[in-house]
Point group: C2
Chain length 362, copies 2
């Protein structure tokens, strides 16, 4: 088995303002370590896949910054989309380019900006899922057992258990048929999902042999399947064809285009911890917190403070006697906001966009 990671890095993400900026979205930020989320994602695969086998699909204007962030990935493997068309066209592209990569090839479509740990467990499960994808000619998605009734995530309802290949010790049935996909449920429904035990968080990761995905596209998304054939055989050839492909392709997620309809979809019950890191709040708590529940990144001095998330990109943050706030310092901007209201940072960014001169801070 040979893994070909295809990392989706086209997001914009305004919720990490003022750290995230127009040319530097979430996946390029050092949110969880000293390197970017994207570089963390590539590093996490070390030992399971080669950088030379890795692709990154991003927005065209971000391609340069992405190449700098993952110098080990071949330059021409960083694909800049001329226009974002959700995930299905990108997944189809990867399947097309890798269709002749060999019978042991498995594509692993992975988000670039999520928290996944521990890395070793993740790699083990990735390998087992890849073996199973080959053996069963399946498209495998990872489902994460929910730990809270999150209304911002998608859920996968699991069906009957399916035995996998290269199973991981210490877990029950790792693979299940997919019964249904549910996008962002209301709070009561989410509570039921958590209590019921048959719903898993959709982590946005997909493994498949390239030809299996192309066949499923032909059945469930024929327009994309047709368009993708107009592309050159290899990545990096014929930019004009890529341009036309993105111009003509429908904007649709791979979940809707294929996963919800395919009989070959399986869900792997994840044994690793996962978080989509949707806001500053996601950096709080956990093992990195001090005795007062404060989490500091960069140089911080938090006196008599509790439950503070302080992120100093450079320079420093000094605080005294504050509670449950997010404080972010960058060279040209400071953000202060209660942890409970970090979702509204997007509105703040919207205000900046509409105000004279605010654009300079976006």
């Amino acid at each position: 088995m040979r893994l070909h990671p295809v990392i989706l890095a086209g997001g914009r993400g305004e919720r990490f303002w003022p750290l995230s900026r127009r040319g530097r979205p979430k996946q390029l930020l050092p949110l969880l370590s000293d390197r970017s989320m994207l570089a963390d994602t590539v590093a996490r695969l070390s030992g399971a896949a080669l950088p030379a086998d890795t692709f990154v699909i991003t927005a065209r204007d971000l391609a340069g910054a992405v190449r700098q962030a993952v110098p080990g990935v071949p330059r021409h493997h960083v694909v800049g989309e001329p226009v974002g068309k959700n995930t299905a066209p990108a997944v189809a592209l990867a399947a097309w380019w890798l269709r002749n990569a060999g019978d042991d090839a498995v594509v692993a479509v992975l988000p670039s900006d999520h928290r996944v740990e521990p890395a070793e467990r993740f790699r083990d499960e990735l390998r087992a899922a890849a073996e199973t994808a080959i053996a069963r000619e399946a498209i495998i998605t990872f489902g994460v057992p929910p730990t809270r009734p999150e209304t911002g995530y998608g859920y996968i309802e699991t069906g009957e258990a399916v035995s996998g290949i290269g199973g991981i010790s210490g877990r029950g049935s790792a693979f299940h048929a997919v019964k249904s996909f549910r996008e962002k449920p209301d709070a009561a429904t989410a509570e039921r999902y958590v209590a019921g035990g048959t719903h898993l968080w959709n982590a946005g990761m997909f493994l498949f042999p390239p030809r299996v995905m192309l066949e499923e596209l032909r059945v469930h998304a024929p327009e994309i399947a047709r368009l993708v054939q107009s592309l050159p055989d290899r990545v990096g050839e014929d930019e004009a064809a890529l341009e036309r492909y993105y111009r003509d392709a429908p904007s649709v997620s791979i979940d809707v285009a294929v996963m919800e309809r395919s009989k070959r979809a399986l869900v792997a019950r994840a044994g690793f911890a996962w978080d989509d890191l949707g806001s500053w709040e996601a950096l709080g708590g956990g093992e990195s917190a001090d005795a007062g529940g404060n989490v500091g990144r960069g140089r911080t001095l938090l006196l008599d403070s509790k439950g503070v998330i302080a992120f100093a990109e450079e320079g420093m943050i000094a605080a005294l006697g504050i509670r449950d706030l997010v404080v972010v310092h960058t060279r040209d901007a400071t953000l202060v906001c209660p942890r409970s209201r970090v979702q509204e940072v997007r509105e703040l960014v919207a205000r900046l966009r509409s105000e004279g001169g605010g654009d300079a801070f976006l």
Copy 2:
């Protein structure tokens, strides 16, 4: 009458960190306008005194920055003290250099970093006090009617009324004998002072004909009077003599050395508003506040916030849903602290001083 302002600008002031730094203390900060407090102080005198007649006494290492801040003041009128010796040696120095300035010369010793407004009223009262100082051969200090039982200020107890020269309309007796000086009283005493009506805040301003001050020094501070005679006749001559003077002079305030003992001390009851601007809290409230009681300086975006003091030196501060906090942004540091605890910023600075690498932010 010709006014010779002598502005004392030797303070260090850590309470405005992170805006105040080692080489940039409070008097060099643009706290109340777009120019430094010191430049505001010089500008406030416009029409009452000439920049060419103005002196600034500061610490030697600040002299360069001070000269830049007040380009209208002659370079050699900016005196850099090799070591701080409180106010009496500086006042004696000014009296000595100006002793031959003419019978109409009045020295006005003024702090460089206080809020004084309105400027026109201040100038009028300065002129009236100067005329009175000449006519009565007096040392006149300004006393400000207290508006709150402030325990951080010094108080002057007034004695019998004395008629002045060039009086200001709309006030009662402007001049009084000085009965006593009281440094920082306890809260109960301060309450009594405010209720009693005979105690005024000591604003640290002194007006006197130079020879009157030299005579009073001879009587009450003979050591300083002796030492000052070893200085050259004019400012800027003989740096070595200045060095010896500051090495040998006792460290004592002009209040203690002269004012508390002199029979020629008078207090002018101030009709202008005055504040020593002791902390970030002093920037709050007042006319500059928005409907939510927020005061923003520099570029700020304060959504759904109340009672916030936000100071962005450059770049910007964005806040959402916060209350009664001070937020300061500089290029390399952010401070967040409740308004009620701004006095503790000094402790924060002390912590920075003792921590490895913290020095870089002082």
